[in-house]
């Protein structure tokens, strides 16, 4: 879907969230000099096309006690990785799950799943669950724990169409 300059203004105005009022889209419309109906139509269209995944609350998983996480990586048979991937992605402790290319011989893994838990032991338990789900299609796996955040910036979005 192509988004236009007005969509980008709506995105920029809501990228930190919606105003917490009974009619938030009307308030956004007021900021931007649009009508509520126009904002609703555009947000609805962006949701239908996948630019917006959903309109929801974003929990701070650290604040809620899920302070441990690890990037688990799996070497899964290419013939069935796209069938197994959705099962891993649907697990409620997996926040991100992607198929990515291997970098042989350095890196044999083609499935990445970020696992979350309250402790590292719990993350390891969840890793065992993923291993059980993948079964013999998985030839090897590892998990990489972060030891330091070196940089973290928000999503940059220019106003350019």
């Amino acid at each position: 879907m192509s988004i236009d300059a007005t969509d980008r203004r709506i995105i920029a105005a809501t990228s930190c969230g919606l105003p917490l009022v009974s009619a938030p889209y009307a308030e956004v419309a007021g900021w931007l000099g649009l009508t509520e109906g126009e904002v609703l139509d555009r947000v609805g269209a962006m949701q239908a096309s996948g630019v917006i995944r959903r309109v929801a609350l974003a929990p701070n998983h650290y604040a809620l006690g899920m302070t441990a996480n690890g990037m688990s990586v799996w070497d899964v048979d290419d013939a069935i990785v796209d069938d197994l991937g959705p099962q891993i992605g649907a697990l409620d402790f997996v926040s991100h799950c992607y198929r990515r290319p291997r970098a042989l011989p350095d890196w044999p893994y083609n499935l990445f799943a970020m696992l979350h838990g309250t402790t590292r032991d719990e993350v390891e338990e969840k890793r065992t669950k993923v291993a059980a789900l993948l079964g013999p299609a998985c030839r090897g796996h590892d998990i990489l724990y972060s030891t330091r955040i070196l940089k973290k910036t928000g999503m940059r979005l220019t106003g350019k169409g």
């Binding site: 879907m1 988004i3 995105i11 809501t14 930190c16 919606l18 917490l20 009974s22 938030p24 889209y25 009307a26 609703l40 947000v43 962006m46 949701q47 096309s49 996948g50 630019v51 917006i52 959903r54 309109v55 929801a56 609350l57 974003a58 929990p59 701070n60 650290y62 604040a63 809620l64 006690g65 302070t67 991937g85 959705p86 891993i88 992605g89 649907a90 697990l91 409620d92 997996v94 991100h96 799950c97 992607y98 198929r99 990515r100 290319p101 890196w107 799943a113 979350h116 990489l144 724990y145 972060s146 030891t147 330091r148 955040i149 070196l150 940089k151 973290k152 999503m155 940059r156 979005l157």
Partner: protein
Amino acid sequence: MRRAALPPDALDATDRAVLNALQDGLPVTARPFAEAARQLALPESELIERVARLREIGAITRFGPFYDAEAMGGAFCLCAMEVPADRFDAVVTLVNALPEVAHNYERAHRLNMWFVLACEKPEGIAKAAKRIEGATGLTVLRFPKENEFFIGFRVKA
């Protein structure tokens, strides 16, 4: 963003119900909180006040649209490098200097530096990776996403 767990008494049962219910997404309607409030058997105004308080105490980071940056145009690529321990801090400075580097993590592995490149156009990824290789003399392994599977992540409050 708050990175420490809240004390156990920071949330009451209603807060937890709100947190669990509103992760699934609200319809795009003029009064998005109204239907969720009905299902939670709360007045709409109380639901909104609780969401605001959850944000104030850092239990949530935001309430609003989750944008797919890639669907809006733009390109992203996870990259990894094997950085010698004695050069690590110097390499961090070189890599982080690029505005295209959005996140960068040290990880416990032979490939010990993992970062995400975010560019306006796909061709920007290769250019940024080459610049890092030129500046550091190290190989940048690129792991662009080929398929995306996640849908299920929910934090039980």
